[in-house]
């Protein structure tokens, strides 16, 4: 029988219903306040846990808490980041106030897979970031909250396109055939969409970095796991409201330096009689608004939080931005003497995006600065009405009036996302809980593009017959999740305990998309973008393009078990095992077995070093599997061939590989955690092997009938180090300064590959096809930019390249790039040697300042704007010339060389927030008010001449002449290419208001 999630759900609910019997245990409510022992200030978000159970809560903004405990509860444990935890016997007390001391041993509880653990018991590399440490400002994508905050986690959204997706990576690439991003788990829902979580609703994010922590999640955790916990209500509280509002203005941070109209004409440019600053014409001051309102509280055993979030972000490019509404409901309750717990989360997002046209920035850079915006200002008779009134440089390749692009065309999308999940737990005994989780998510995306009959850009305005183009893309993605697991906890003596979790997980993903493209509209008098029946393409063969993709039921099924053991409160053991199967592989290779093991020792408990509060050493090893790539990986795929006589047949498109097996990642992680007074430090060293990585590679077309096939193709290793340092510089009653530094470095080596060496990343048209800028080699690190070295300008205006091997002849042509005697060398590496984030939190009285600096060192970027448009090419005199400080004025032909590879080290003040808190009398209607000002991208120190020195970790290839960039297939082996479709970086100032009432 086919597994049907509904029947599963029904089954689970049936079981649940049977379980809902009358267990009545007396219970009571304990309230109190948690404060800092030194300053007396309340601690917000401190954890309170009933010892030996999973019952707990956190303190609210006043530092108070309220917790329902059963009568058999004996002890409460209070903990807070950076403070030593305390256990207090409950006895008959109903009010327990606690003061925690700072700088002591950490005893925080951290969410890990299928449960939580005390931080000290964790034996793997796990980093937890609370809301108070998130990046501020009008965040467009929740991953940006973490940018620079977690050692080893890379989050880059180059240029800051409000609709751009950040590239997220943990510890470098984890496979070569796809850009695999960390698994996101939101409130226990595996694979939930981060886009369906508003940044304001996030309480905490925990990042599981190494294999031993992630192994419990199996293949989907192979690239690391990001666990998101959203805010919940507090028990024993009436309704509390919180409002968060932000207003922000953004401006272009910088642009690509080009010639002024005067310089351009002096350099031989074709003078068209006007003066136009094209980049200025297509950019603007972007205004953004964020409003969030939440209501939370708790009554009896039930807590809830309901929130609504509205975001309206305008990008700095005209007609780009989005408007988003998100709603979330979190509900928790306990019943039957707290033996049954029910958690329900639901969230909904509707986002209307104006994607805009990044091409307007590209053509804004290279368009003739003497060209007029409007055709009526052309220096010669111009048929303006044919082009919507705009001027166009007809007859040029890859040249479009940027203002016309953004004014005439539309590129919009609507994404709707619904996620809901429910977890039901039942304490069979105080030591044994069984739990079931059901979750579903559905995302629909509807993208619409319309290019009117008067648009040269994609609208084909020059055509006498077939003008105008409309494109429709609709996509539905959904998943279903069912999990059941049991957890057994037992204390073995006073200082030792054992916790065992085992369960079953069923995940099913579905995808379906439909694409339709057609044109030839009569004119623009009606909204023909929506009236496809007006398309004259319907009368003509061969113009309409339609495509539909439907995935099979992609399933992951797993059985897992984990044991955590603590001995003597100082030795911690974690072990897990997961047996997982996937529909993507052939019958014989479907199932994989993935083990993990970790050991941690609180060494200082035995050494008892003076002044040292904690010294923990831990080692973790884990194996996870991964299956990057599409469905049908292992199967033969064919495409349809139509004959003109109505006959249809198929031809082979991808050959089958029944032997394809799991790609495996084995990772060894060694960590040291050290706390001494005000200093704390964590160092992680890791070594990761990705073997049998899956890649669609070129195979012998003669043998397989086609030259593409998925194979297990090689071995990738990464060694890295991550250091996190924290220091309380000042800790006085009215002044606190904490500073923290996260540093990470790694090096990924391609140990085995299908070929000894290979070039990638074609520079593209015009004129730079067959020019590959990146090389990968077996046994060498990835990310190497490869090319000849520029020496000087030759007599004919072409570049003179260096004779690197001194053999008297220069072999600098691309056809010989990989020959041993070629004069090519590594010109840089696209991956940084060192990435760092430096946080500073300073508070004095009601004021606080949060300054976050971020930087990366050792990476280079190919500045492709320069590579194409900086040489003064005589036949390009109707395009503007890029004109940076690095320009070689005599150069009249373009050829890729070291001249266009730039070191892109940078150090920036990423985020500066100044805020003031206003206090109110107890009992006043307003509980708290905070006003803040945030500046993003305030300064950047870099020598890079492009718009944004942030590393470019993936490459999407080249596009030209109005062509479309395919963002769905990133090349992860070609970092370091700054393409011409990048959005320009912006600087943003935000005024924020937080009101609790």
């Amino acid at each position: 029988m086919k597994l049907n999630i509904n029947s599963m759900t029904r089954g689970a609910l049936f079981v649940l219903a049977l379980l809902l019997c009358n267990f009545t245990f007396a219970q009571r409510t304990i309230t109190g306040t948690v404060t800092d022992a030194e300053t007396g200030e309340s601690l917000i978000g401190a954890n309170i846990l009933v010892v030996g159970s999973s019952t707990g809560t956190i303190t609210n903004f006043d530092g108070t808490y309220s917790l329902n405990v059963s009568n058999d509860a004996k002890e409460l444990e209070f903990s807070y980041t950076g403070y030593s935890s305390q256990r207090v016997e409950i006895g008959s007390q109903t009010t327990i106030d606690v003061s925690l001391s700072a700088g002591q041993q950490l005893d925080e509880v951290v969410v890990v897979g299928y449960g939580s653990q005390k931080e000290k018991e964790i034996t793997s590399a796990v980093t937890s970031v609370g809301a108070e440490d998130f990046n501020q400002g009008p965040i467009t994508d929740p991953s940006q909250l973490l940018q620079g905050k977690v050692a080893g986690l890379q989050v880059y959204n180059r240029g800051g396109d409000p609709n751009g997706q950040s590239v997220i990576r943990l510890r470098g690439i984890s496979t070569v055939g796809a850009n695999t991003e960390p698994l996101v788990v939101v409130d226990g829902i595996i694979g939930a969409s981060l886009d369906n979580v508003d940044p304001n609703d996030i309480e905490n994010v925990t990042v599981l970095k190494d294999g031993s922590a992630a192994a419990i999640y199996g293949s989907r955790g192979s690239s690391g796991v990001i666990l998101v916990t959203t805010r919940t209500g507090s028990k024993g509280k009436g309704v509390e409201f919180s409002y968060n509002g932000q207003t922000a203005v953004s401006t272009a941070f910088n642009s690509v330096p080009v010639m002024s109209p005067e310089e351009f004409v002096a350099a031989g440019g074709t003078d068209l009689g006007s003066q136009t600053d094209w980049v200025d014409e297509v950019t603007r001051m972007g205004l953004s608004n964020v409003h969030s309102l939440s209501a939370s509280g708790g009554a009896g055993n039930t807590t809830y939080r309901v929130s609504g979030n509205y975001r309206n972000v305008d990008g700095i490019l005209e007609n780009s931005g989005f408007e988003q509404f998100n709603g979330r409901v979190n509900l928790s309750t306990k019943a039957f003497n707290e033996r049954v717990s029910i958690d329900f989360n639901s969230s909904f997002t509707n986002r209307n995006s104006d994607y805009g046209f990044n091409e307007a920035l590209r053509y804004g850079v290279l368009y003739n600065p003497t060209a007029p915006v409007l055709g009526e200002n052309a220096p010669f008779p111009f048929a303006s009405e044919q082009y919507g009134g705009f001027f166009e440089t007809l007859g040029l390749f890859d040249s479009f009036n940027p203002v016309s692009i953004i004014e005439q065309n539309r590129n919009q999308g609507q994404r709707t996302e619904v996620t809901y999940g429910a977890r039901v737990g039942y304490d069979i005994t105080p030591n044994l809980e069984i739990a079931g989780r059901v979750a579903q998510q559905k995302t629909t995306l509807a993208n619409r593009e319309y290019y009117p009959t008067t648009s040269l850009f994609r609208g084909n305005a020059t055509s006498p017959t077939r003008k105008g183009l409309a494109e429709f893309y609709d996509e539905i993605t959904s998943f279903q999740l069912f999990e059941g697991y049991a957890t057994y906890v037992n204390d073995i003596g006073s200082k030792s305990n054992l916790r065992v979790t085992a369960g079953y997980s069923y995940q099913q993903n579905n995808f379906e998309s439909t694409f339709l493209s057609l044109g030839d509209f009569p004119d623009n008098s009606l909204n023909f973008g929506n009236l496809i029946e007006a398309s004259q393409d319907l009368q003509n063969a061969g113009f309409i393009s339609a495509d539909r993709n439907v995935s099979p039921d992609e399933k992951i099924i797993a059985f897992f078990a984990r044991a955590n053991m603590t001995i003597d409160d100082a030795i911690f053991l974690n072990a897990s095992l997961r047996r997982e199967g996937s529909t993507k592989l052939g019958e014989d290779n479907r199932w994989g077995l993935f083990p993990a093991l970790g050991v941690g020792v609180d060494v200082n408990r035995y050494l008892d070093l003076n002044n040292v509060d904690q010294l923990k050493v831990r080692v973790g090893y884990g194996v996870t599997g991964a299956l990057p790539g599409p469905n049908g990986l292992s199967q033969e795929i064919r495409t349809v061939v139509n004959g003109d006589d109505g006959s249809v047949s198929t031809e082979l498109n991808r050959a089958a590989n029944p032997d394809l097996k799991w790609e495996e990642k084995a990772e060894l992680n060694l960590g040291v955690e050290f706390t001494m007074g005000r200093l704390n430090a964590t160092l992680d060293l890791y070594d990761r092997d990705i073997s049998d990585f899956i890649l669609e590679r070129t195979v012998d077309a003669a043998v397989f009938g086609t030259d593409r096939r998925f194979e297990n193709a090689g071995l990738l290793t990464t060694q890295g180090a991550e250091l996190t340092l924290g220091y309380d510089v000042i800790r006085k009653e009215n002044m606190i300064w904490n500073t923290g530094l996260v540093l990470s470095t790694y090096r990924t080596t391609l140990e085995e590959y299908v070929v000894p060496q290979e070039q990638r990343a074609n520079l593209g048209a015009p004129g730079q096809n067959g020019t590959n800028m990146v090389v990968i080699r077996e046994g060498e690190e990835i990310g190497q930019i490869w090319g000849p070295v520029f020496e000087s300008v030759g007599e004919d205006g072409s570049p003179v390249l260096a004779d690197l091997n001194g053999d008297g002849q220069v072999i600098g042509d691309q056809g010989n790039a990989l020959n041993p005697d070629a004069d090519f060398q590594v010109l840089g590496n696209g991956i940084p040697d060192l990435e760092f984030g430096w946080t500073n939190q300073l508070s004095f009285g009601d004021w606080s300042v949060n300054a976050f600096f971020r930087g990366a060192l050792g990476h280079s970027l190919v500045n492709t704007f320069r590579a194409f448009y900086e040489p003064r090419i005589s036949s390009q005199t109707s395009y503007n010339f890029v004109n940076t400080d690095l320009a070689e004025p005599g150069l009249t032909s373009a050829q890729f060389s070291s001249l266009y590879v730039e070191e892109a080290d940078f150090f920036k003040l990423d985020n500066l927030t100044i805020s003031r808190r206003f206090s109110f009398e107890k009992g006043s209607a307003i509980r708290g008010l905070t006003v803040s000002v945030t500046g993003q991208n305030l300064f950047v120190l870099t020598n890079y001449t492009g718009t944004d020195p942030e590393p470019s970790l993936v490459d999407y290839g080249s596009s030209d002449n109005g062509g479309v960039v395919d963002f769905s297939s990133p090349d992860v082996l070609s970092p370091g290419i700054d393409r011409r479709y990048s959005y320009f970086a912006s600087r943003t100032f935000t005024l924020g208001l937080n009101l609790n009432f």
């Binding site: 349809v640 249809v648 004129g767």
Partner: protein, 532 residues
């Protein structure tokens, strides 16, 4: 209570156990099996390709008339055509210069492209042949078409794997074996043991004429004639006698006639307001026109169609960006391929083939007004194609070079053109016979009779005892321009390694292309050709 729980858990697990671990992948959005749907109007314009639809489509897909593969490596390696590097435009990492100057390497993307295109076509043939769905006549067609693709490999790469079934991995064959394979396959399709004066094709499973889109006896025989003409290059053994017999058989059959006077089609490229544009294309020009389907000279041709038969992109490849407005093209051309000046000049002015094959001079738009190039290299803003070319690189002028136009352009044309591309046509068969006979006789004037037939059609003066080997090659070039014959011809005449414009002498090893490095890397045990 506990009992109840236990039983309900067992119940749940029992109900769903099989589903709990069911991982069967049932692809519903992809095709995983071979599917053949017969045409609803078999015998229509497509000639009823039926189960061989995909195979005949491979003739279009295999780079026959577009950029980056077979066409490119056959044309711009010769003295016919070049692509100049125009500052930044069309430099493309030096790939195009390397083809022109014969410094191509195993990493050349076009050399790889041509290989992959051809083997993909062969795989489709093998797939069809292995399906068991074909009638005997279709098997014969598929084998002959596959032999044509192997002839391409034989001519270009020499030593290749002779794969005849999917998942078969034979060792790399030498050039002689590939030659023998191509010859045998064609002979078997023709139902004969050898080409001889007394051969009887009546047992052939191939058709006796009919649509040029379907491989018939004369198509297969034409391919054999071309194979034998080059046998000495391929194997060291001359077989001109067989070439002559095969060519004569086709000519003497009377099934095909040269398209000469009175053989005309409406000129689809005509601009209503430009009187110089003829209303009709006649003779040689009609053979290659956009509406050339069914031309009496076509024996075996590739069916291109703007809507249903994509793969010919000459307008984009050859014309300047602004020329879009001469023909009202749907897309902007790329300004790439142009004619080597000396080659253009080798035509007499009265030779009608000169006008048919090239576009030169100041250009007018659709309405007859001057066509402008805002980025003109010279002071004249009107687009003017000059036969003279300043240089190959780095700053070849944008308007330099006569533009190939044999496969003529039509008004409102799309990026995908409509002109059918002949692989075997009667005009070439005359040239094969002329050359084979001359070589057998050891006297080039023997060729004059056949050559003069073609000259007469073109309105050019006839040869009268003046024919030489060089003259024959030049004349063959004039007739066969843009039909991917030049490289093979120059090699057969020993001229491929000579010097010409912007091209130094090259070593003989370049007469066979390198085995693409990517294919060697694919791990099938291929070894490189000598010299690379």
């Amino acid at each position: 209570m506990k009992e109840l729980f236990k039983y309900s858990l067992i119940l749940c697990l029992g109900l769903s156990m099989s589903a709990c671990t069911d991982l069967e992948e049932d692809l519903i959005g992809d095709i995983t099996d071979e599917i053949v749907v017969k045409g609803i109007n078999v015998g229509g314009p497509g000639g009823g390709e039926g189960p061989l639809t995909a195979l005949y489509a491979e003739l279009r897909n295999a780079g026959t008339a577009n950029h980056g593969g077979y066409y490119s490596i056959q044309e711009i390696t010769t003295d016919e055509m070049f692509i100049g590097a125009k500052g930044g435009d069309w430099f493309d990492g030096g790939d195009l210069i390397r083809l022109h100057q014969h410094t191509y390497t195993a990493n050349h993307p076009f050399v790889n492209g041509a290989w992959v295109q051809t083997y993909n076509a062969i795989a489709t043939a093998n797939d069809n042949l292995g399906s068991g769905n074909l009638k005997d006549s279709e098997v014969a067609q598929a084998r002959a078409v596959r032999a044509y693709f192997y002839w391409r490999l034989l001519d270009s790469y020499g030593r290749v794997k002779l794969v005849t079934e999917l998942d078969q991995d034979p060792p790399q064959a030498n050039r002689q074996d590939v030659f023998t394979f191509v010859e045998t396959e064609l002979l078997e399709a023709l139902g004969i043991d050898e080409v001889s004066a007394s051969m009887d094709l009546s047992n052939s499973l191939l058709g006796d004429g009919g649509s040029a889109y379907t491989m018939n006896r004369y198509g297969a025989l034409g391919l054999l004639a071309k194979l034998y003409l080059n046998a000495e290059v391929y194997t060291g053994t001359a077989m001109y006698d067989k070439a002559e017999i095969a060519a004569s058989y086709i000519i003497d059959s009377g099934k095909y006639v040269l398209c000469g006077e009175g053989c005309s089609v409406p000129n689809l490229g005509k601009r209503p307001r430009v009187d110089a544009d003829p209303d009709e294309l006649e003779g040689y020009a009609a053979v290659f026109a956009a509406n050339n389907e069914g031309n009496p000279e076509h024996i075996f041709s590739v069916r291109y169609d703007e809507a249903t038969g994509a793969g010919m992109n000459f307008a984009n490849m050859n014309l300047h960006y602004s020329s879009q407005f001469t023909w009202n093209f749907q897309e902007q051309p790329w300004n790439g391929y142009a004619t080597v000046e000396e080659f253009y000049n080798s035509y007499d002015d009265e030779d009608l083939r000169k006008e048919a094959n090239f576009i030169v001079g100041p250009q007018l738009d659709f309405s007859g007004s001057a066509l402008l190039d805002y980025a003109a290299d010279d002071d004249d803003i009107q687009l003017n194609y000059t036969p003279e070319i300043n240089e190959l690189a780095p700053n070849s002028q944008r308007e330099a070079g006569a533009r190939p136009a044999k496969f003529s352009y039509k008004q409102f044309g799309r990026a995908e053109m409509d002109n059918d591309f002949p692989i075997v046509r009667l005009g070439e068969v005359y040239l094969v016979r002329a050359e084979a006979a001359s070589r057998l006789a050891g006297n080039w004037t023997v060729a004059e009779a056949d050559v003069n037939v073609l000259r007469a059609r073109a309105g050019a003066s006839e040869y009268n005892g003046t024919m030489t080997a060089d003259e024959f090659l030049a004349e063959r070039g004039r007739e066969m321009f843009q039909e991917t014959a030049r490289r093979t011809d120059m090699i057969r005449f020993g001229k491929y390694n000579s010097e010409w414009w912007e091209k130094p002498t090259s070593e003989p090893f370049v007469n066979i292309f390198p085995i693409p490095q990517e294919q060697i890397n694919a791990g099938g045990g291929l070894t490189q050709n000598p010299g690379y």
